[in-house]
Subunit: 383 residues, 2 copies
């Protein structure tokens, strides 16, 4: 890293009207890339997440982990004076991000035309549930609901079990990440065209885009994809196999990998056995095949098989709980768990930076701010 | 939309060495934003996905849906002549994206130093399983394996059922989206600093970053998050409730929404009942409470409750299968299903664009290319 290099979003000021999760995740991604993110919070309690999850030394670690690299300014947006201050801030900014329900910002007097008049170069970004047009534009949204409506739950779960939500708040996070991608693109378009525009990222649209080949198969054939648990809907062998001391996840993703897998477990001959010599046969006799594989794998340990299979080019690993995942030597080597000093609240351990840039790496430049910590710094020059 | 406006990535040339899913998703996102994406494929069969999934009129719809807005050039990277052509292409490019295992590109003679010498302004992007440093850097990767190792599966599933993979190839897609975000940021850094850099997005790191508050709670308390199926781990009421003709997903995400929910189902008085007057009590008596709510909701239809609850500001919806989701009026209003003409192969229906930009919207400018369709156009000037 060359310290003299400017961060990707150096010089970009983001006015952040978001709260809770999808929006703060977006603005954190922008802050991690070097933007100055000014988090606007109501006086008193601020972002509700400040009071959520486990608190240590007066600080929510959930809040800390989604609000690094931000400054906090308190404004009462029902007060005319503070609304004027917000307008001055908007004039000084490059980006405004919000995750209100569509129409709420306009109801506060900040419709698209007003924003464009205040600052024609402003990129505005709305993160919402269903998009700002269409029959559900006004609906309140929540991760669980968009997981249900998008089809995500319909393909998540075991074949003989009901549809299931993800344990991760996935539609919030996908929407936040798409929003950040949209904002940076809109900033590039502004460099080319000289004007800002409106970016919109809806939770429903984001998670739908992740239906991937499930969607293309459905759109081609009309067939409705089923839940298949940990089994691949089309390919065998694939799934969890039993070593002597635990399970090993194996994905024999193509014929070459399949042959390596069967060779490594001492069953390559089965690929010439008329019972198993093509994928449809293997799939039809999946239980029989898996039993034969388990019979080999039970003769050695999980760790030995994972080492041996990966060495042979067969993707494999174990199912780890979150404690194991976050203590995994690879995860630590990738600095995916970092310690950030929060003066007055001790050191907070949090997830690191998922995108690595060799020249301008993301850094925790600022800990999550105290409520209103930057009022003087940011609002002072505007008064 | 103003037709005269330039797209965000207008003028950006991407050399795309990726295949299958994570990489092609990244390069599609860049193409959707206006980049010229040149997909390099081996002569003969090209990207394996050309032969995967349902085929109509000689075209894989899975391939078509992940390779719009790209051009195809065939190069045999084992031939010195074609490697020279690739180097000429790299000299002409802004971005190079690949999803080989770490080290494979260097093994082809295209290590970081060589790439930087060929083109100091080049942004290179590697999408891989575990990152290019650390003990697992050399491991082959596959979506199922990173779902297993990251902890995703450990929190996905019913409380009394085993850990479960997502039905979506989620770690591929998250890594592809982060990669695209990283590339656009690196292009902005190049605008500021005059030089390219290396971007890296690992499937394991991306999905870890989605552990969100699950990670912050674990890092604070050491507790290992459990699977909770469709129930919220901490909040009640929350989940699926029974209307007369089907279930309704409801998320009473905070006290205000909870009160609206209970009022709408005619049970507001329970919030003053000593059995249910705070969340810990409601959570402890969750089954009893859910039975009371079901008793009210069974008196009307799914559609009526969804209308009524959303109208009252309570996020709610139904669990839709993929056919229902892709025919949902909101999804259609958001143009999340689009038709793209593929000359010689009919019209392909595919997912639309999840990020909406008001001034420079994404468009399907080009259908997925025939193998080598753009050899003359792209390679001609280099020969």
């Amino acid at each position: 890293m060359n310290e003299a290099l400017r961060k990707p979003l150096d010089g970009i000021r983001v006015i952040d009207l978001t709260r809770v999760l999808s929006g703060p995740f977006c603005s954190m991604l922008l802050g991690d890339m070097g933007a100055e993110v000014i988090k606007i919070e109501p006086p008193g309690k601020g972002d509700p997440v400040r009071a959520q999850g486990g608190i240590r030394d007066g600080l929510s670690w959930y809040f800390a982990s989604f609000n690094r690299n931000k400054k906090s300014v308190t404004l009462n947006l029902r007060s005319p004076e503070d609304k004027t201050l917000l307008e001055r801030l908007i004039e000084s900014a490059d980006v405004l991000v919000e995750n209100y329900r569509p129409g709420v910002l306009a109801g506060m007097g900040l419709d698209g035309d007003t924003l464009a008049r205040l600052n024609p170069r402003l990129v505005t970004c709305s993160i919402n549930g269903f998009g700002s047009t269409g029959p559900y534009a006004d609906r309140p949204a929540f991760d669980f609901i968009t997981q249900a409506m998008s089809g995500f739950m319909s393909v998540n779960g075991a074949a003989d079990q009901p549809p299931l939500r993800s344990g991760q708040p996935i539609t919030d996070l996908v929407a936040g990440l798409y929003a950040a991608f949209g904002v940076v693109n809109a900033l590039r378009a502004r460099d080319l065209n000289g004007q800002g525009q409106q970016v919109e990222s809806a939770m429903m649209n984001g998670i739908l885009s992740f239906m991937a080949y499930l969607a293309s198969e459905h759109l081609l054939t009309g067939a409705i994809p089923a839940r298949t648990g940990n089994n691949h809907p089309l390919v065998a062998p694939y799934g969890l196999f039993r070593a002597s001391d635990g399970e090993v996840a194996v994905a024999a993703s193509n014929d070459m990998v399949l042959r390596r897998f069967m060779r490594t477990v001492g069953l390559e001959h089965l690929l010439d056995d008329p019972r198993f010599d093509d994928n449809p046969k293997r799939f039809a006799r999946r239980n029989e095949l898996n039993t034969l594989i388990d019979g080999q794998m039970v003769q050695d340990t999980q760790a030995a098989w994972i080492e041996r299979l990966n060495g042979a080019g067969v993707p494999s690993g174990r199912v780890q709980n979150l404690a194991e995942a976050l203590a995994d030597p690879q995860v630590l080597a990738q600095e995916m768990v970092i310690d950030v000093a929060h003066p007055g609240h001790g050191t907070v351990r949090m997830l690191g930076f998922p995108v690595k840039l060799s020249g301008t790496p993301c850094e925790a430049r600022l800990p999550a701010p105290e409520l209103g910590q930057h009022n003087d710094e940011i609002l002072g020059p505007l008064r």
